[in-house]
């Protein structure tokens, strides 16, 4: 007996309906609201916005006064990405090439600290980098100590961000290294290339998709993060994320905060479009 079945598109969309409703209500509508607020102006009284549809908030956001914060945010994100690449590549390469049957265990070992409460880890660094923290005392033994420790410095913020987002780099790099055909390296050696030349001419182009994917996965959250700059940095380390946070949390200036949130989203969209063009699926 042939059973009558609902058409495929209908059953699929029905199954996806609850997800769609939830994300529409608690993700798309709120994001649209922020876009709307970014064209509003601040009204007197707390949490008030009026809607004359003006670009005032964007003019303020792009004011030269905020330029150093933009620059600093991008510099943090770029440095963090570079540091994650430097630390992540040996790790990914080692697990893919030499991990053998321990590959999954090694990957899990990379992931465990990542899943272990972000806040707790940043908190640990806060204590470690403090004036009488372990790092400063150890460095003091070799004469590299610093009065007051390393908190409130740019270096501390980049270190914290790198620590927080390293696994985002390792996973896609690992996938790329695993797919990379190692015989290409031998071919390169056989053809007379040295180690350095082989690395830059053969290995790096070969794992390029992983490098790109990992860089974007680190760059985006690093640019938006404000907890790390707050806990490890000071007033001079405020970032884009922390400015957005200030505007909303104090109830200070929601339109300005919204405009900055939209600009941050624009960065994400640019990054995604660039990535999408390379034919990679985000999900």
């Amino acid at each position: 007996m042939a059973r009558r079945r609902a058409p495929r598109w209908l059953s699929a969309n029905l199954l996806l309906l609850p997800t769609g409703l939830w994300l529409a209500l608690f993700l798309l509508v709120p994001l649209a609201l922020v876009v709307q607020y970014s064209f509003a102006t601040r009204d007197t009284g707390p949490l008030r916005v009026v809607l004359p549809w003006t670009a005032q908030a964007y003019r303020t956001a792009l004011d030269p006064a905020f330029l150093p914060i933009f620059g600093r945010t991008l510099a943090y994100a770029a440095l963090t990405t570079a540091a994650c690449l430097l630390l992540g590549f040996p790790l990914a390469w080692f697990i893919a090439r030499h991990g053998g049957r321990h590959r999954n265990a090694l990957l899990a070992a990379v992931l465990v600290p990542f899943w272990a409460s972000y806040l707790a880890r940043i908190y640990a660094w806060k204590a470690l980098l403090d004036g009488d923290g372990l790092v400063n005392r150890l460095l003091g033994l070799v004469g590299l100590g610093r009065d007051g420790g390393f908190l409130l410095t740019d270096g501390a913020v980049v270190l914290g961000l790198t620590y927080g987002f390293l696994p985002f780099m390792v996973l896609p790099l690992y996938v790329a290294c695993e797919r990379f055909d190692h015989r290409l390296v031998e071919a390169s050696y056989d053809l007379g290339h040295g180690r350095v030349s082989t690395f830059f001419r053969v290995v790096l182009p070969g794992v390029r998709p992983g490098v790109l994917a990992g860089s974007l996965l680190v760059l985006v959250p690093a640019a938006g993060d404000f907890v790390t700059p707050r806990l490890l940095g000071g007033v001079d380390q405020s970032t884009f994320g922390s400015v957005i946070d200030d505007q909303f949390r104090g109830g200070n200036n929601w339109p300005l905060g919204s405009a900055m949130a939209v600009l941050l989203m624009a960065l994400v969209v640019v990054v995604l479009v660039v990535r999408g063009r390379r034919g990679e699926d985000v999900l």
């Binding site: 495929r8 699929a12 969309n13 199954l15 609850p18 997800t19 939830w22 994300l23 993700l27 798309l28 709120p30 994001l31 609201l33 922020v34 040996p90 390469w93 080692f94 090439r97 030499h98 053998g100 999954n104 899990a108 465990v112 600290p113 899943w115 272990a116 409460s117 972000y118 806040l119 707790a120 880890r121 908190y123 640990a124 806060k126 204590a127 470690l128 009488d132 923290g133 620590y163 390293l166 190692h182 015989r183 390296v185 031998e186 071919a187 050696y189 056989d190 938006g224 404000f226 907890v227 957005i244 946070d245 909303f248 919204s258 949130a261 941050l264 989203m265 994400v268 985000v282 999900l283």
Partner: protein
């Protein structure tokens, strides 16, 4: 150096893998010591802060920088701290509720995405959004939404709505990848043998995806349990989650042993759950795969 042709496009992936042990020792037959050293340094970097947290949490002294003796007093103080207990209660209730909703809704979505249909690309884009929207943007937009548009009071309800919104995609990804690796013929075989759609689902499909659903639930729990940024905008008066509480204490008063002990506990819970998730996926997948092979030898 190599007897085989250096480049042989005809060789398949298995050939490349076969090749791996021989290349393991590098060019001169040496172990890659420099690489091993670099990997050891990175692992030390990853684990040092966590080990330090655990060590200091058992320190007797109030200053976290000097170790004076072993003690569990900070844990004892946590247990009697009313604020910690209520924050922990809320965090656990929230994480359990969010994981439950995400598991049901996300598993349905994963099944919906199983076959090709018009509009699947659009759904994929929608589902990838929560993974790429910066947390701070998601947080402030939900704050504006709850306060100004929807009139949802800040607290448990608002937190649950947000946590499901940012965890859902992870459950879909995990369950979907398991479904993608599943043999459709198993269900067809069940149907051929006379099982109705519900019976086939219950006896064949569900046991096969169960490990992924368990892992998805564990990840959703963890995401909710650990979330700080988005939650920090949505906690109401008297309804604070544990990470928001820790953050408040950390930015107000700096490093205190109670907070170190609390952080250590959170790390322990997260690590335990991660292991449960990973074990569920690998063990059940292996077992289910073996059973499926027995039932359907090609």
């Amino acid at each position: 150096m190599s007897a085989r042709p250096a480049l042989n496009p005809g060789n398949d992936a298995a050939g490349a893998r076969e090749n791996a042990p021989r290349t393991r020792r590098g060019r001169g037959g040496r172990r890659p010591w420099a690489l091993i050293a670099a990997v050891a340094v990175v692992f030390a970097f990853l684990y040092a802060p966590i080990l330090w947290l655990a060590l200091v949490s058992f320190n007797d002294s109030r200053t976290v920088s000097r170790f004076t003796g072993f003690s569990t007093r900070w844990y004892a103080e946590l247990v009697v701290d009313e604020r910690v207990r209520s924050a922990l209660g809320l965090t656990l209730r929230l994480a359990l509720s969010s994981a439950a909703v995400c598991t049901v809704v996300g598993t349905l979505a994963a099944f919906g995405l199983r076959r090709v249909f018009r509009g699947r690309g659009l759904w994929t884009v929608l589902l990838s959004l929560p993974l790429v929207v910066p947390e701070v943007v998601m947080g402030v937009s939900l704050l504006a939404f709850c306060v100004k548009l929807a009139g949802i009071p800040l607290g448990f309800g608002a937190l649950l709505a947000a946590h499901v919104a940012f965890s859902l995609s992870f459950v879909v990804v995990v369950v979907r990848s398991r479904l993608a690796g599943m043999d459709l013929r198993l269900e067809e075989a069940a149907a051929d043998l006379g099982a109705g759609p519900l019976t086939a689902f219950r006896t064949v499909t569900l046991p096969l995806v169960a490990p992924a659903v368990v892992a998805g639930a564990a990840f959703a729990f963890l995401l909710s349990f650990d979330d700080l940024v988005i939650s920090s905008y949505l906690t109401g008066v008297g309804s604070t989650t544990l990470p928001v509480f820790i953050y408040g204490q950390a930015s107000k008063r700096g490093v205190s042993p109670e907070i170190v002990a609390l952080s250590t506990l959170m790390v322990a819970v997260s690590a335990a759950l991660l292991l449960v998730g990973v074990a569920a996926v690998s063990w059940r997948a292996r077992r289910a795969g073996r059973r499926a092979e027995l039932a359907l030898p090609n």
